[in-house]
Every structure is written in structure tokens, then in C-alpha cells.
């Protein structure tokens, strides 16, 4: 019986070849469905991995303290609108309080300058953000300075640390140590430069590559008021102490704010969950659309098989006359549907792999196609072949041999 099923596949391939263009078009439908589904899911997975890498790069033990108007639910829109200072509730006092806690190793404020005008000579440079912070930012971001040093003079002064992208945008070179530029009319010079930050697409964090870090206290003098801090990054002495530090920060800050908890203490791993859920939602939505394409491909198979069955009624009659049972006829036509859909599935996987390579070359995306997806897609195409091939095959099997013979 085993050799018979191998012959089955051969026979199926041959009869599909006899209506070549129809078969190719039908297979094409499945190819589109399978490759679209795999590509979408792989892009989603890739983005999730990239965000996770980003976060792991900084360290999972990072704690973020934010004023309350930046809840994690609206974090994305808040950052997109770039207005953080409106009702700021974190102050220098809060920073000092956190620094004084026992298990805190580093604490750095991030104070975003509103609409900074960065100039070199008379030329304005756009697409750069200016952040006031302290020297603790270097160990917290887990990113060493590639050139130069961190702020001198206790974090007061006109020296700046530049991200790689910022340096390129301002000076057109990656190395700009000692060169001067203006922020809101005040002169600064490059004291240190970071190596390239790992950045992920769709990340809800700032892209530190395009940031100028200036001393925290300089922000106040630039803005003409106290520095408005949009978040304080904290690193505990020991990653295992993270939960203790979070509760400590919460209780002491609440006390300092007169019993009102108008801030949130987030852990980096939570933001991983948040971004993951957003990406998953998007991925699932688009994958569902791709799944519909696959479904339509399946209908294409059913359509073709129905036409084939009615075209080959005479053949069915002859086969039945020479002793084919209903089951054998069913198997023959089911096998044709399966050959169509599985070959579409395999080609679809290959196409998805090619698209994957193309995306990696032409964009910053790093879509991932695990083996399980390939197996799953092939299995899915098999299921589609069976599901959509069953009705036409059953129709063929049920044909009355006499009527079928008359059909020749």
C-alpha cells in the first residue's frame, strides 16, 4: 500500500501538470497567503527581539521614575508629542532623595530641553534632542564613551556628551571632541562621545544616538527656571534588590510629596511587556489579514478541484468501472489538492525567506523565521489542502459510475 501512495503523488503531479496554468495560478494563491503570513509574523517577532535586545543592553534592573502624566498607557503618545514638562512633579530634591537611598548605586535625571535650537555657526541643526543629566547616565545606560570624557566640574558647565548620530548631524563627523556649538544661544563644546547605542524600531524610548547630553544644572540656566525632569533612571547596587528599591523609592518619594503619589516607578522589564503587547497586537492583526489571503487561496484550490472533478467525470467513471472504490477515488483527488497546497506552502516558505533577506538588507528590521514557523506553515498548507480538497474529492467519489461513464 505504501508504494501505492507514492504512485498517488506521482499521478497527482502528472494530472496537475496537464492543466498547468490553472495549477500554477492556484498554487500562487497559496504562495501569497503563506509567504505573507510568515513575513508578517517574522517581522513582529524580529521587532520584539530587537526591543528585548535593546532593553537587555541597558540592563533589566533599570528602574524608571516618571511623573504621573506619563503613565505607561500613554507613554507612546507623550513621547511622540515631545512635551514632558507641562506638569512636572520630579525635582532636584527627588533626585537627591533617591541617590541617598541605601540600595541605589546610580541615579540620573533625564531633563528634556523644550524645542532646543542647536546651531553651529549660523547653521541650525534639526532632529536632535538635548537632555540634561549627570555623569551617572554613563554606567546606567551601560554604554561607554568612545572618545573623550564625561562632564567635568561636578556636572556644572558648558561641556556636552554627544551621541554618534548627533555628532554626525552637527559636525558631519563621528569625532568632534573639543568643537563648539550653540544651544539656545549658549555655547557648548564636545567633551565626550558615546559609541553607537543599540536602537530598535518602534521602541518607546528616546533614540540616544541623536541626543546631546548636557549637565543637569545647565538646563535650568538655559530654560531660565528649575530643570524639568521627565524621568529619573535608577540602578540598584544589586539586580536582586530591584523590588526592594522600587518600594523604597515609592514610600520615600510619596512621603516627600506630602503623601501624594503623583509619580510612577516602572521597571524596565515592565516596559518590555508593554512594548511586546503592542507589537503582538499589531502583528496578530496583520497576520489575521494575511490569514484571510491564505483562506482565499484555499478557496482557489477548492474551485480548481471542483472544475477538475467535473471535467474528469468520464475518467472517474472508467476508474470506477475497473474497480476503484469510492475511497480510492477520494484519495486520488484529495492527493491532488494536497499536492497543490503543499507545493504552494513550500514555495511560500522559500519566498518568505527571500523577503526576509531582502528586508534585512534594505531596512533596519531584523525579521526572524524560526524552524517552528516553517514547519507550522507547511503543516498549515497541508491542512488547507485537506480541508478545501475534501469537498471536491467527496463529490468525485460519490459520482455514480454509470452517469460518469456516459459523460465521456
Amino acid at each position: 500500500m505504501k508504494s501505492f501512495s507514492r504512485g498517488d503523488i506521482g499521478a497527482a503531479v502528472r494530472s496537475l501538470r496537464s492543466s498547468r496554468s490553472r495549477s500554477i495560478l492556484t498554487i500562487f494563491g497559496i504562495v501569497i497567503g503563506i509567504s505573507a503570513t510568515i513575513t508578517i509574523v517574522s517581522i513582529g517577532d524580529g521587532i520584539k527581539n530587537q526591543i528585548a535586545d535593546n532593553i537587555n543592553n541597558v540592563g533589566r534592573d533599570l528602574i524608571i521614575v516618571r511623573p504621573d502624566l506619563l503613565q505607561p498607557t500613554n507613554a507612546v503618545s507623550a513621547i511622540v508629542s515631545e512635551s514632558y514638562s507641562a506638569d512636572n512633579s520630579l525635582t532636584t530634591n527627588d533626585l537627591q532623595l533617591i541617590e541617598s537611598l541605601s540600595n541605589v548605586q546610580y541615579a540620573a535625571p533625564l531633563s528634556l530641553l523644550n524645542a532646543p535650537s542647536v546651531k553651529v555657526g549660523n547653521q541650525t541643526v534639526s532632529g536632535i534632542q538635548v537632555v540634561g543629566t549627570t555623569n551617572d547616565i554613563v554606567p546606567i545606560l551601560n554604554q561607554s564613551l568612545q572618545y573623550g570624557n564625561s562632564f567635568g566640574g561636578n556636572g556644572v558647565g558648558n561641556d556636552a556628551m554627544l551621541g554618534q548620530g548627533a555628532s554626525v548631524k552637527i559636525f558631519g563627523t563621528q569625532v568632534s571632541l573639543g568643537r563648539n556649538f550653540n544651544i539656545d544661544g549658549q555655547s557648548f563644546f564636545t567633551r565626550g562621545e558615546f559609541g553607537s547605542f543599540y536602537s530598535a524600531p518602534l521602541s518607546i524610548d528616546l533614540d540616544f544616538n541623536n541626543v546631546i547630553f548636557i549637565p543637569y544644572s545647565s538646563v535650568a540656566s538655559l530654560q531660565g527656571s528649575t530643570a524639568s525632569t521627565y524621568e529619573i533612571l535608577v540602578k540598584p547596587t544589586n539586580p536582586s534588590a530591584i523590588n526592594a528599591v522600587v518600594t523604597e523609592i515609592e514610600s520615600s518619594l510619596t512621603e516627600a510629596h506630602g503623601g501624594v503619589q503623583n509619580f510612577s516607578v516602572l521597571q524596565q522589564k515592565n516596559s518590555l511587556t508593554a512594548s511586546d503587547s503592542i507589537v503582538s497586537l499589531l502583528t496578530n492583526l496583520i497576520a489575521a489579514a494575511a490569514g484571510i489571503a491564505l483562506f482565499v487561496g484555499g478557496i482557489g484550490i477548492m474551485n480548481m478541484m471542483l472544475v477538475t472533478v467535473s471535467e474528469r467525470t468520464g475518467e472517474i467513471g472508467v476508474r470506477k468501472a475497473v474497480g476503484a472504490t469510492n475511497r480510492q477515488i477520494l484519495r486520488q483527488f484529495l492527493m491532488e489538492a494536497i499536492v497543490l497546497s503543499v507545493s504552494g506552502g513550500i514555495i511560500g516558505v522559500v519566498v518568505a525567506l527571500l523577503i526576509n533577506v531582502g528586508l534585512r538588507i534594505s531596512t533596519s528590521l531584523e525579521p526572524t523565521i524560526p524552524w517552528s514557523t516553517i514547519v507550522l506553515a507547511t503543516g498549515l498548507s497541508l491542512v488547507i489542502g485537506i480541508v478545501f480538497g475534501l469537498i471536491p474529492a467527496a463529490k468525485a467519489a460519490r459520482k455514480d459510475p454509470i452517469d460518469a461513464l456516459r459523460h465521456q
Partner: protein, 296 residues
């Protein structure tokens, strides 16, 4: 014990007023190694009888035994297996699968028995050899002559060494040369011990048969043994008039006449050209259908 034993077999199609009786309590007993020619006008039930005997169709009533085994109530699957193992079909239209080579066509029934590809090809090849088509094994049916095609079909019918061969006008689509070839082949198969049932319109072909059964209106009206080499006596009588004029044709002729006779109960006015045209048309249609009937 008779090979084929049918008793009071009826086959009824349709319901109520539209009921058609294709077989009307036919009883027939056919022994091993008979060569039975079945004759009769179109619609006489020959094909239905062949379908029932060939297990393609189930009788409405009556009993049917093959080698003593009751088969009238078998399931579709059981009938398929019985067809595969006991019965070989030869059709007027050859019925080879056009996309398969001669070899594959002949091997087809073996596939449904679950034989390995190797054994299938070996068996089919030796059968094709036996029937003298060895050099055509890898041809497609459309590249063969009519006689060769029917020979291949016969090879296919013989491949499972059936005890019954059912041939439905096997020479209907062949010229006289090929017809003789095929009939001699069937005759050889008969000599080897296979029982053959052959539907035919050609009285000449009864020369090969050992027995001739005449049917009309779903009934067996005459059943005679015949000497090999001679046209059966009743068939010879039929030869003089059967292909040209039947009672049915007479009826058709009368009704066609009624249409054109002025003053008949037909409302047609022959003076109007348009109607006359229509009349001509209907007349020619009648003629055509009559011719078609005579041909089939």
C-alpha cells in the same frame, strides 16, 4: 452451477407518472465459457442489463448470483472490488484515460488491487505483449489507431484475469478491418475459457457467439444457441429489415405525416411560408433522429 444467475431482475427509474421500466423481470442463466451476444433496439434494456450484470448498477428487484454468491445487495465498495476482480469492461468508446500511456492504462486495475508499481508494470507489459501491442507500450491513446486502442482496452479488461468480460458494442467505433481483428481477439479470449457478454447491433457479429439473447422493452424476447461461424437464425431474419425500419420508426413517420396533412388536427397552416419552414425543420429533425436511432 451457472456463472451468472439472474432471476426476475427489474430495474425501475423515476417515480409516479414518470416511472420508466428499463428491465422487466428478466431471468437469465449464463454458464462458464459462453459467448453471449445480446441484441435488441435502442431502449430495449440491453445496456441496463449489462450495467446490472457488470455490478455498475443495482437492480430494483430480483436476485443476482455470481458463482452462486448473491450480489444484488452488495455495498458500493464490495461491488467495486467485485468489478475489479471478476469483471472486465470493454466499451464502444474505448475509455482509455487519455493522459496515461498504454502501459499505465493497462496497469490501472492492478493499482486498485494494491500491487507494487514494479509488479503492475511487469504484468501489464506481458499482457500487452500477449495481445501484440508490445511496440506501443509507451504511446498515448490518441497516437493509436482505433483497433490498437480497443486492443489496449481489452488488455486492460483482461489484466485481472476476470471470469466475465462485458463488451458494450466493442466494434461500434471501428472500421470493418479493425472490427474483425477485435472480434477474433475476443474469440481467442473466449477459447481460453472466459465468459463473454457482448451487446451488438450487428447481426454479422453473432457468428462469433455461442448464444444470442434478443431483448425488447426491458424483456428477453428470444434466446437461442447458435453454431459458431454462422449468423444466428433470428438475427439473419432481422438483418433484412431491422436496421432500416422498425415499428417505432413507423410511428414516428405517421406522426410526422400528421403534422403536414392539411385539415389534420394540427393547427399549422401550410400556406404561410414561415410555418412551412418550421414544418420542414421539424420534419428533418424527425428524420435525423430516426437516422440516429438506426445508427446506434
Amino acid at each position: 452451477m451457472a456463472l451468472i444467475e439472474i432471476t426476475d431482475i427489474s430495474k425501475v427509474y423515476g417515480f409516479g407518472g414518470a416511472t420508466t421500466v428499463a428491465l422487466d423481470e428478466v431471468s437469465l442463466s449464463i454458464e462458464q465459457n459462453e459467448f453471449v451476444a445480446i441484441m435488441g433496439p435502442s431502449g430495449s434494456g440491453k445496456s441496463t442489463l449489462m450495467n446490472v450484470i457488470g455490478l455498475l448498477d443495482r437492480p430494483s428487484h430480483g436476485s443476482y448470483k455470481i458463482s452462486g454468491r448473491n450480489v444484488e445487495k452488495l455495498s458500493q465498495n464490495q461491488r467495486a472490488k467485485m468489478r475489479r476482480d471478476k469483471i472486465g469492461f470493454i466499451f464502444q468508446s474505448f475509455s482509455l484515460l487519455p493522459r496515461l500511456t498504454v502501459l499505465e492504462n493497462v496497469a490501472l486495475p492492478l493499482a486498485y488491487r494494491g500491487l507494487s508499481t514494479n509488479r503492475r508494470i511487469k504484468a501489464a507489459s506481458s499482457m500487452i505483449n500477449r495481445l501484440g501491442l508490445a511496440d506501443r507500450e509507451y504511446y498515448l491513446p490518441r497516437h493509436l489507431s482505433g483497433g490498437q486502442t480497443q486492443t489496449a482496452a481489452i488488455a486492460r479488461a483482461l489484466i485481472n484475469t476476470p471470469s466475465i468480460i462485458i463488451a458494450d458494442e466493442p466494434t461500434g467505433n471501428l472500421d470493418s478491418n479493425d472490427s474483425r481483428l477485435i472480434m477474433e481477439l475476443l474469440s481467442d479470449i473466449h477459447k481460453d475459457g472466459t465468459t463473454i457478454l457482448m451487446v451488438t447491433h450487428n447481426p454479422e457479429l453473432t457468428r462469433y457467439a455461442t448464444r444470442v439473447v434478443y431483448m425488447r422493452d426491458g424483456m428477453v424476447i428470444h434466446d437461442e444457441l447458435t453454431a459458431p461461424g454462422l449468423v444466428a437464425p433470428t438475427a439473419r431474419k432481422a438483418m433484412s429489415y431491422l436496421p432500416f425500419r422498425t415499428e417505432e420508426d413507423d410511428f414516428a413517420g405517421v406522426s410526422a405525416l400528421m403534422k403536414v396533412i392539411p385539415g389534420g388536427d394540427s393547427p399549422v397552416d401550410i400556406k404561410s411560408g414561415r410555418n412551412r419552414k418550421i414544418n420542414k425543420k421539424s420534419k428533418s429533425r424527425t428524420n435525423k433522429s430516426r437516422r440516429r436511432k438506426a445508427k446506434s
